[in-house]
Symmetry: C2
DNA sequence: ACCTGAACACCGTTCAAGT
DNA sequence: ACCTGAACACCGTTCAAGT
């Protein structure tokens, strides 16, 4: 189907095709047979360029880290460690928003993409270069958690396929919900009221991401002041 | 194999058996056929008590939240919102350490376990009851992220099956690594030196968990003071 | 009503055979 | 060296049949 159908297969072409499939159809669609079809080839041919499905996913994870590094290189231009980290993590978030399948895929992985070490090395270097101790830099890496990859771990993010019937049912016993979940109901009522702009309003990911980021960065800054 | 082999199948017995299988053999071992065998029954019989595999995993997630709630009920006895949250999240962590498969399983889930709403309702109630605004409580819920479920999202946690050959290979070009990853190498050297007790030493999860928890709780407390 | 056996439509992967 | 077709050992799930 694609232009380069007749070109010889390489590891790079296989990974590029995998990225295309997964961006267009999601991670579940990425089967060896489907990927073979994308390249105009039998599934078995892929094994000459990658040892198996695990290696394919490893390669995909690695390609994603590379894209995050590239995006950060384009954007990070500040001098201070705090602002540099902020820019780094916001760049990572942009990449993750381009690939909605990525958080779940990375979370399910048990092996470390080789490129991740180099990526984190740069982050640690930014902190120690800014005067943070190795101990505080170490703690910071853990505190940021998945933030360095562009997402706070929002478990159970809402699905694209919403059930209209469920919404109706939910509305029907909204009063029952208010009784069972008084604090959540009150919070939604108070917060939704303030959300004039739907993009910046209720549970907007960007707002929450930046709040958490600032919270942790400010806390580290205070810790860095205390360590002297 | 089990004592209750002849008792009639119920949804509860199926879920209890699933929890047994997954605790003993991991999430990959949980197939409909394997679960049937655990109960001395054909795989197809399970469909009379659960609609399918998705519902089985939903049930497992729900049972896990229930266990977290029960553990918290046993332990949380403080008066202030800050200490109550600290105890709540440490209780959740204990449950997660009992079920190492749980973080990955919850992270892969796309639907929300019903019980999670009630669990978060209690957490929000603790904060608003302590004087935090709905806005700050909302931001806090996002900032805590998976901490309420007992884990910071440590992507790529080390596997149980370690490759000795890989360790040897890694040692062989340790100098090469030091050149390629100078900041990480320096951090490991500095931090590992201080780690007299291996349990409390390098990358101990409990230490990192409590550091991040305190960082966020302190930041919220400051935010709560600022909101008046 | 509950459980079964055979079958269906998929997977990842092995292997002998082609070119 | 690279690709193929058939096959193997699995999955979740359907369905007609048993009791």
């Amino acid at each position: 189907m694609s232009v380069e159908e007749r070109a010889p297969l390489t590891r790079e072409r296989v990974l590029a095709a995998a990225m295309r499939v997964v961006d267009a159809e999601g991670i579940k669609a990425l089967t060896m047979r489907r990927l073979g079809a994308e390249l105009g080839v039998e599934a078995m041919s892929l094994y000459h360029h990658l040892p198996g499905k695990e290696a394919l996913l490893d390669g995909l994870a690695d390609a994603l880290i590379a894209e995050i590094q590239a995006e950060a290189a384009l954007r990070v231009d500040a001098a201070g460690w705090k602002e540099r980290l902020r820019q780094t993590f916001l760049a990572a978030r942009v990449v993750m928003l381009r690939h909605p399948w990525a958080p779940g895929m990375l979370g399910a992985r048990t092996t470390v993409p080789a490129r991740l070490f180099a990526y984190y090395d740069g982050i640690v270097g930014t902190m120690t270069g800014g005067g943070l101790s190795h101990r505080l830099a170490h703690r910071a890496v853990h505190a940021f958690g998945t933030m360095a990859l562009g997402f706070t771990q929002e478990l159970f993010r809402p699905e694209a396929a919403g059930g209209a019937a469920d919404v109706d049912a939910a509305e029907a016993d909204l009063t029952a919900m208010a009784a069972a979940l008084p604090h959540l109901t009150a919070m939604v009522a108070a917060e939704a009221h303030d959300a004039a702009d739907p993009v910046l309003g209720w549970c907007d990911g960007q707002t929450e991401f930046e709040f958490t980021l600032a919270l942790i960065l400010d806390g580290l800054e205070r810790g860095a002041a205390g360590q002297r």
